[in-house]
Symmetry: C2
Subunit: 231 residues, 2 copies
C-alpha cells in the first residue's frame, strides 16, 4: 500500500549537531580563536524554527534555508564577537550542505530503495539537499524540498505537495521522521508515519520524547531497523 | 566550471518510439484487434508539442504531461476506432512512465555522475520521471521537471529555474539534449550545451538535422561518448 517513503533530513538522516560542532571547531583552530563549538552549533540550530516561523507567518518574505541560516549565523558571529572573512562565513554557512549521516542511514536507505521510492521531504533547500546527498552518498530517488512549494513544514502544502508530485494519494506516502510534531502534521494530512528514534540529536541535557507511540504506523530504532520492519 | 548536467529525456535518454510501439502492439494482441502500432506511436508523439504549446499560450490551463498524453490518447483511440476499458487506457497512458533507455544511457549517466550532478530537465511530470528512473535504472541525483515551474520548455523559466534550484549560475549548468531548438533556448539563457545525436529517435522517413554544430559546447554520438569527452 505504501509506495513512497519521504524523509525528514536534519536529525533524522544526518547528525547536524556533531557535524556543525566539528566544522566550527575546525574553523576556530584554523583562525586561532576560541569558541564553545557545541554551544555555537546548538544556538545556530535553535534559531532555525523561529526563523522559519517568521516566514510561515509572513513576517519575512520567502527565504530558503541557506538564507535563513545566514541570518542566524551573522547574529551569532556578532554575539560570540567572532570576525570572519566573507569567504569563511559563506563556507561555514554551507556546513549544512556537508552534514554527515547517522551510521545506519546509508545502509538503511539502500535497503528501502529496493522496494520503495525514497525521497527527502525537508525544509532544507533543494541545492543543500542535493549537495548533501552527493557528499554523504545518500541514495535518494529524488529530492523534494519545502522550497518547491514555497511553504515550510508543518504547513499542509508540503506533505500534500509531496504526494501530489509523486502522483500518489497521501495514504500511499509515509513520512519518516525523528520529530513527533512533524509526524502528527503529516498524519493530519492523511500520510502514513514512521517514527525514527534519534537519542543523540540534541545535547544530553535536552529532554526529548523517545517513547514509541501508537499514533504512528511504525516506531523504529534507526532507518536500518525501519528497513527490517518493512522489507 | 560546469557542475551540473541536466538532460532532456524523451528521445535523448529514452527511446519513446520503440517503447510506445511495443506497448501498443502488445495491448492490441491481448485485446485481439489490429493497429499500425508504429503509426499510432508517431501520432501520439506528434500531438505532444502542439498540446504543450496550447498550455504555453494559455489556451489551456496548466496540465501535466500525463494529462496532455491522455487528451491526445483519447483522440487517437477515437481516430483508430479502438475501444479500450478505462483500466487499459490508463495503463497505456502510463507507457510513458516505462520508456526504455537507449543502450548507452545508463552506463553514460553512471560515469558522468561520478563527476557532476546529473538531473533530468524534462517536460515530463515529476512522477513520470521518477517512475521511469525506477523502471529503467536511470541513476539521477535529482528529478527536475517543468512541472516544478509551471512552465514548459522552451520557456526560459525552466532553464533558469533549474539553475536556481541547483544553487548554480546558468553557466555552471549544461543542458544535454538531442533537439537543437531546446539547446538554443538553453544557450540563450546562459547555459552550456551538449548535443547528443539520436539518429533513431524518429522513423527513417523523417529528416532530422544530426550535424555537429559549433554553436554548442559539445557534440556527442551518445551519452557514453559525452562522458568520454568530459571525464
Amino acid at each position: 500500500m505504501v509506495k513512497a517513503l519521504v524523509f525528514d533530513v536534519f536529525g533524522t538522516v544526518v547528525d547536524w549537531r556533531g557535524s556543525i560542532t566539528r566544522e566550527v571547531r575546525t574553523l576556530a583552530e584554523a583562525n586561532g580563536f576560541k569558541v564553545n563549538a557545541a554551544k555555537f552549533a546548538n544556538l545556530w540550530r535553535a534559531g532555525y524554527a523561529p526563523a522559519m516561523d517568521r516566514v510561515r507567518n509572513k513576517d519575512l518574505p520567502w527565504m530558503n534555508i541557506d538564507a535563513l541560516h545566514r541570518l542566524i549565523l551573522d547574529d551569532l558571529l556578532n554575539q560570540f564577537s567572532l570576525s570572519l572573512t566573507e569567504e569563511d562565513t559563506d563556507h561555514l554557512n554551507r556546513a549544512w550542505h556537508r552534514l554527515k549521516p547517522w551510521p545506519d542511514s546509508v545502509r538503511g536507505l539502500r535497503k528501502l530503495k529496493q522496494q520503495f521510492t525514497i525521497s527527502t521531504l525537508s525544509n532544507g533547500n533543494f541545492s543543500l539537499l542535493n549537495n548533501m546527498a552527493k557528499n554523504a552518498g545518500l541514495p535518494w530517488d529524488c529530492i523534494i524540498s519545502a522550497e518547491l512549494f514555497g511553504h515550510y513544514k508543518p504547513d499542509p502544502e508540503t506533505y500534500l505537495g509531496a504526494a501530489n508530485l509523486l502522483g500518489l494519494t497521501p495514504s500511499e506516502v509515509m513520512l519518516c521522521a525523528a520529530h513527533k510534531d512533524d509526524l502528527i502534521a503529516a498524519k493530519n494530512c492523511g500520510l502514513r508515519t514512521a517514527f525514527i528514534k534519534r537519542p543523540r540529536e540534541f545535547s544530553p541535557s535536552v529532554k526529548i520524547d523517545l517513547s514509541s507511540d501508537e499514533r504512528f504506523d511504525y516506531n523504529a530504532e534507526s532507518i536500518l531497523d525501519l528497513a527490517s520492519q518493512l522489507t
